[in-house]
């Protein structure tokens, strides 16, 4: 799972509603590494990674950000939201099923060994094997042979390899999928697809704890010393000399400072105690705009917030007119501006503006129209009592209350707001068909493709195993997405995905409420800070000011 910084709470990382609120932080102890030649590090704010730094077990933004500095992914994403080659030289397919990945020469591990195709095979097989219980194992679900490594709990895994994974030679990797999937290439930039060196594995074939504390990568930076989670307040890195790609000019040291509150980090940013902060909290936005000037950046972030319905077993919401009316009664703009201070934008499509395929204003029922909402709601005989559930741990209370107030005032209905402790509790109650009300839900992408807003959340297959918590099922939708998966060209794929998006807009299984924004700021000591599609800093471009 990938979580946007703005939604880092969602990940169930150690951050709580509390920690999000005002002030504070286990701020990094300023280890003044101003040693030789005044090479002071570029310092970046980071939340504490949820797990040890093992790519296949890292599904949240903080660990991913740290690992992204240590590893070079197969592909990167450019400013036009398109895939460009990273550690891969080329990625080709004829049928969207068999993919041939050629590795760029020249990459070596931080311990000096050359990177070979087998390193990818080993890492991916390890990730997919249920015995290793890796959080990002599901990324390999489309690879042929995944099922063999996941026979189910209690059943022994008889093989260690996926059939569909082959190192043809040292620089060629061949991946066979169990079904055609045109978006496979876009997936490869993610943390889960990083390779692992031989040194990562212990004698028992498992990734060692030592590796998790000091991962050896093939990327721009290497760790200076092991990161002791829970104790260390910084992660210190130095540029790896033999890195074949672009290196930053004028500086070689990078330091992640771990904060448990983004407010504290913002205070430190103003005091020049930290250089880059890429998850400014809502309470800091007004101040950041004036205090930082053009050192404040606001750009789209791929996350979406919805309100969902238990369509599967509550007929009260069956009528699309009711769902549309509820959607039109929500004043997204005021919520985005007042509750979120611009860290969210009103949603008007099921595809996020950060991703190729977004169409502005596509969702007409997402526009605020209290008059029409009331009329339509009455005509469709919507329920007189509504219930709106949310998880109390993620800082959602305010906007949920605001939505509830909108519905009460604009539809004239009674609305009960029901806090669940965590999202998992909502999920349990939905699975047990116990909870009949509406619920909030957030989505952060796993890979930057329009398809990632469709299949995992709305396809029939995702009811059981994915995130289709509404239980929405529409055959035409499934088929349209499948056509996109098999399409010969990216353009054709996108066309099909947009057609599927149109179906969602027409049927409104969920109500899109807001898009996340990425709000970042940087100190006077650095310039040219660019944040990419994955909410990660493009380190090679950063310059010292």
């Amino acid at each position: 799972m990938r979580v946007t910084k703005g939604a880092q709470i969602v990940a169930g990382t150690a951050l709580l509603a509390l920690a999000v609120a005002a002030c504070g932080g286990g701020g990094g102890t300023s280890t003044g590494t101003s040693g030789s030649g005044g090479d002071t590090p570029v310092r970046m704010e980071l939340g504490e990674p949820q797990n040890l730094l093992v790519p296949s077990n890292t599904t949240e933004s903080e660990g991913a950000e740290a690992l992204a500095a240590v590893f070079e992914p197969l592909v990167n994403y450019d400013e036009n939201k398109q895939v460009v080659m990273g550690a891969a030289d080329s990625i080709e397919t004829k049928d969207n099923k068999v993919w041939t990945i050629k590795l760029k020469p020249g990459y070596t591990w931080h311990n000096g060994e050359p990177v070979v195709a087998q390193n990818y095979v080993d890492a991916w097989n390890y990730a997919a094997n249920q015995e290793n219980a890796q959080g990002a194992g599901y990324f390999f679900g489309r690879v042929e042979g995944y099922a063999d490594l996941n026979p189910g709990e209690g059943k022994p895994v008889t093989t260690k390899e996926m059939k569909g994974l082959k190192a043809v030679d040292d620089t060629t990797l061949e991946v066979t999928l169990s079904a055609p999937f045109s978006q496979f290439k876009t997936m490869l930039g993610y943390t889960a697809f990083y390779p692992l060196p031989k040194a990562a594995f212990g004698s028992d074939g498992k990734v060692t704890n030592e590796y998790g504390e000091k991962p050896i990568g093939q990327g721009l930076f290497k760790l200076d010393k092991p990161y002791k989670k829970g104790t260390d307040q910084t992660i210190d890195l130095t540029v790896y000399d033999k890195f074949p790609g672009k290196k930053p000019t004028g500086w070689t040291k990078l330091q992640f400072k771990l904060y448990n509150s983004s407010e504290t980090a913002y205070n430190d940013l103003q005091a020049d105690n930290v250089d880059i902060h890429d998850s400014l909290p809502a309470s800091a936005i007004a101040s950041a705009k004036t205090a930082l000037g053009d050192r404040y950046q606001d750009q789209p972030d791929a996350g979406i917030g919805y309100i969902g319905f238990p369509l599967q077993y509550n007929d009260e919401y069956k009528d699309v007119k009711v769902r549309e009316a509820i959607s039109m009664a929500i004043d997204r703009k005021t919520i985005a501006e007042t509750v979120f201070s611009g860290t969210r934008a009103p949603a008007d499509d099921f595809i996020n503006p950060a991703i190729d395929g977004y169409r502005q204003g596509a969702c007409t029922a997402c526009a605020y129209d209290p008059g029409k909402a009331k009329e339509q709601y009455a005509a469709a005989k919507g329920p007189a009592k509504l219930e709106l559930g949310y998880n109390a741990d993620g800082g959602h209370k305010e906007w949920i209350e605001a939505v509830a107030n909108n519905l009460r005032a604009n539809l004239g209905v009674e609305v009960t707001v029901k806090p669940f402790e965590k999202f998992a509790n909502i999920l349990d109650d939905l699975d047990a068909k116990k909870y009949k009300g509406m619920f909030r839900m957030g989505w952060a992408i796993d890979y930057p493709s329009a398809e990632d807003y469709l299949t995992p959340i709305f396809s029939t297959g995702a009811i059981k195993t994915g995130s289709n918590y509404a239980g929405y099922s529409n055959k035409t939708f499934d088929e349209t997405v499948a056509k996109g998966d098999q399409a010969a060209s990216p353009e054709e794929s996108l066309k099909q995905y947009q057609a599927a998006d149109d179906i969602l807009i027409k049927e409104m299984p969920y109500i899109p409420v807001y898009f996340y924004r990425n709000n970042s700021g940087y100190s006077t000591k650095v310039k040219n800070v660019k944040i990419n599609l994955l909410n990660q800093v493009e380190w090679a471009d950063v310059e010292k000011a």
Binding site: M1, L16, G24, F423, T465
Partner: protein, 314 residues
């Protein structure tokens, strides 16, 4: 003396076991699956959930789980691992330091301010100063940490910084060494300061009324000498008792202060542990606090003997 200590420590064992079992059982009963919740809002593969649950013995009955835990501590000194695979001892070492710093700063502030105010009030007994000090202690007791924390953070942290241009009291975090602990330390100590002031006053007033003080005064000793040598020393006993026992209270009661000032201490950690259902963390912290409580009480009782020669332990 040695036998007394051993007996006290043996008596502490059932307390420690009882308290940890109680906490363990409550965490056990916490609703929701901690492993499934680790994945946030995406559905964790049930397969993986089951496997991890097994690794952490989460499918076993309560008492068996408790046995795994407690036997790990007793036989291997192992407090268990978090779901992220980090040993609890490693995780807590740093957090414990923060809370200990905070509690110690609070204790020092409490001792200094409390004794001085109490002394002052006692010497001015019945006069306006006395009344004013007593009234202000009442006020101090009445203001919850929740309130004093925010108000002081705003006044002394934010406004003072705006007025003076320098950060005299850091608003939050632990980045500035002892300076970072002053404001939260005072907030944490607030109620205790009030209690200690009253205790000092009462204790001194009673001592000053006693016969030997009257004798000393009658002998013509200076007032300073009477109070300093005879009065204070005897009045000290309840104060030391109180301070000793208060260390545990300050550490266990720091969660709100740590939250307001965002200090990464054990209170904060315990709160997160509850949220993440991290049994080893929660029970580990409570175990530490119970130990602190037991040891502090023991030390206090031993201090009695040192301060008051009449008390002897078998």
């Amino acid at each position: 003396m040695g036998r007394y200590i051993i007996r006290r420590l043996i008596q502490a064992v059932p307390v420690l076991l009882g308290a940890t079992l109680f906490i363990f059982a409550i965490v056990f009963a916490l609703p929701g699956d901690p492993i499934a919740a680790l994945a946030g809002e995406k559905r964790q593969d049930p397969n993986i959930v089951a496997i991890i649950r097994d690794q952490y013995h989460l499918n076993d009955p309560l008492l068996l789980q408790y046995w795994y835990y407690i036997s790990g501590i007793i036989f291997r000194g192992d407090f268990g691992k978090t779901f992220a695979g980090v040993p609890v001892t490693q995780l807590l070492a740093g957090k414990l330091q923060v809370t200990l710093n905070l509690a110690l700063v609070a204790l020092v502030l409490e001792a200094v301010i409390g004794v001085v105010l109490g002394l002052w009030a006692a010497l001015r007994r019945g006069r306006a100063t006395d009344t004013a000090i007593l009234a202000s202690t009442l006020l101090l007791i009445s203001i919850p940490t929740l309130v004093s924390g925010f108000v002081l953070q705003l006044w002394l942290g934010v406004w003072l910084k705006q007025v003076t241009g320098t950060e005299i009291f850091p608003i939050a975090g632990t980045t500035q060494g002892i300076k970072s602990y002053l404001l939260p330390g005072f907030v944490l100590a607030g109620v205790s300061i009030a209690y200690l002031t009253r205790l000092t006053r009462t204790s001194l007033v009673e001592t000053l009324r006693s016969d030997y003080i009257r004798t000393a005064t009658a002998k013509g000793l200076s007032r300073r000498r009477v109070i300093g040598r005879h009065g204070l020393r005897n009045a000290l006993i309840p104060l030391v008792t109180y301070l000793g026992a208060d260390l545990g209270n300050l550490m266990g009661g720091a969660v709100i202060t740590e939250t307001i000032f965002n200090l990464p201490g054990i209170g904060n950690q315990l709160y997160q542990g509850v949220y993440l259902r991290e049994q080893p963390i929660v029970v580990g912290i409570v175990t530490i606090l119970v130990l602190v409580y037991i040891v502090a009480n023991l030390v206090v009782d031993l201090m009695y003997a040192v301060l008051d020669p009449r008390i002897r332990y078998e």
